[in-house]
């Protein structure tokens, strides 16, 4: 098999790699915010449960979580949906996992906001929701962007974990070719693909940071 043939074959999996990437971000970014708000809840039960959730998802391997989401329901209830719908299982596991990381980032950002911002808005008559959505959140987004960038770059690389469920994205295809051809080349190609994707991510995120650079 020529290198070109390998590249062509592997790039057929890039759509799936991107699907994991974008769908995970789409669900985990809002979910992370929700988790952060629950984590900061004044209700002790809610905050304790959320804290445990974050702790477990950050404290165990994503690979294990993928397996748990895909096969857990099958072993527990005989439900086969997530065994068959691999992408669904992957997105659920990734979104839950990344939400835990994003939640801590959001929380750090929210807690770093000076109380004077809340007070100024309160005196002007902003409701709690208006204060959060208009005054606090936009500033939090700017503050946490560098940490979010780190997670997003990790996410690009983590998409390769889909091979655990034999979901044929770019890396899993490469691994298959590597086995059948007894070749190391597919791994080099995979590395190059991830590096290029992350260059794009880094560029996009620095554009975002610039766009938010109009104030300090």
């Amino acid at each position: 098999m020529t290198i070109t043939a390998m590249i062509v074959k592997m790039s057929e999996g890039l759509g799936r790699t991107c699907a994991i990437f974008f769908l995970t971000l789409l669900f985990s970014l809002p979910l992370g915010l929700l988790v952060a708000l629950l984590r900061m809840s004044k209700n002790r039960v809610v905050s304790t449960i959320t804290k445990a959730y974050i702790s477990v998802l950050r404290g165990t391997p994503l690979m294990l979580q993928l397996i748990a989401v895909a096969y857990g329901p099958f072993y527990l209830f005989g439900a086969t949906l997530l065994v068959k719908q691999k992408l669904l299982a992957i997105i659920i596991a990734f979104a839950l996992n990344y939400a835990a990381y994003f939640a801590e980032i959001y929380r750090g950002g929210i807690e770093s906001m000076p109380v004077g911002q809340y007070e100024a808005a309160h005196v002007l008559g902003y409701s709690k929701a208006q204060t959060f959505m208009r005054i606090i959140l936009p500033q939090v987004v700017k503050r946490i962007l560098p940490s979010v960038t780190n997670e997003v770059i990790t996410l690009v690389k983590d998409t390769s974990m889909a091979f655990t469920l034999a979901y044929m994205e770019m890396f899993s295809i490469g691994k298959q070719i590597a086995n059948s051809q007894s070749s190391f080349t597919p791994f080099v190609i995979a590395g190059a693909f991830y590096y290029i994707m992350n260059s794009v991510v880094a560029f996009a995120m620095s554009r975002c940071e610039k766009a938010l650079g109009y104030y300090r």
Partner: protein, 251 residues
């Protein structure tokens, strides 16, 4: 007309009794200055009056709206909808401005009148432009807070409070976060407001300013009003030992 009436306000933080039975009235057009050593409870009093802090006991009334009533020594707050109305009666200028850094100067001033008070856009824009002109900041409408000096930021925050067309304004040490050479510009703005008979309560350490601008001076120490009255009397001829001691530090 009476704008503000606080009676028997009490507030404690844990074991610490910060305000003990404070009563205070402010009439329309009156300028009241509150002086006193740091930690005497001046900010806490302003924060209780502006509903940023909940008082433990006492009552609070703006015009004919009761925000807090006293029931057997316990402070009972009105419903949120009523408190929201009450908030429309006053503005507060903070020591450290608390402008919204992600908004331009113009948006800092206009968002609340548009969003909260739902006023007409053209009217709000005109009000904002007038206020900026009055504050000498007409050329800064599109600037962001970080591009302004402390004195300019504080003038924006005064404009932001005034844009709500409040019946009265509170100032909590409006010049304390400023370099000495910038305090003058803020005091000038407040003097101009006083000349227009804006009703104001000002916590300040600027004694000469308090004497010149106010109709009434209150000296607080240890959570109580130790002495109050005519500015010249209090600042030039205090009668209480604690007032004398405090003021001697300023001469």
């Amino acid at each position: 007309m009476r704008i503000l009436e606080i009676e028997h306000c009490r507030k404690h933080f844990g074991e610490n009794e910060v305000l003990t039975d404070i009563s205070l009235t402010v009439d329309e057009g009156q300028v009241v200055s509150i002086i006193g050593p740091s930690g005497s409870g001046k900010s806490t009093l302003l924060r209780c009056a502006t509903l940023l802090e909940t008082m433990d006991g006492g009552s609070l009334k703006y015009l004919d709206k009761v925000a807090v009533r006293d029931e057997g020594g316990r402070a009972v707050y009105a419903l949120p909808a009523e408190l929201k109305q009450v908030r429309g009666y006053f503005g507060l200028v903070f020591q450290n401005f608390n402008l919204f850094p992600h908004y331009s100067v113009l948006k800092n001033i206009t968002e609340a009148p548009l969003l909260i008070q739902k006023r007409d856009k053209d009217e709000v824009m005109e009000t904002a432009r007038d206020l900026l002109a009055k504050m000498g900041l007409s050329d800064k409408a599109d600037a962001y807070p970080y591009q302004l000096s402390g004195g300019q930021q504080q003038r924006v925050s005064i404009a932001r409070a005034l844009a709500m067309k409040p019946r009265m304004l509170f100032f909590d040490e409006p010049t304390s976060a400023l370099d000495p050479e910038l305090t003058g510009e803020i005091l000038k703005v407040i003097r101009a407001l006083a000349a227009e008979h804006m009703t104001m309560v000002i916590v300040t350490h600027e004694m000469a300013f308090a004497r010149d601008v106010s109709d009434h001076v209150i000296f607080m120490d240890g959570g109580v009003i130790v002495e109050q009255g005519n500015p010249a009397d209090i600042i030039n001829n205090p009668t209480q030992d604690r007032t004398i001691q405090f003021l001697s530090r300023f001469n």
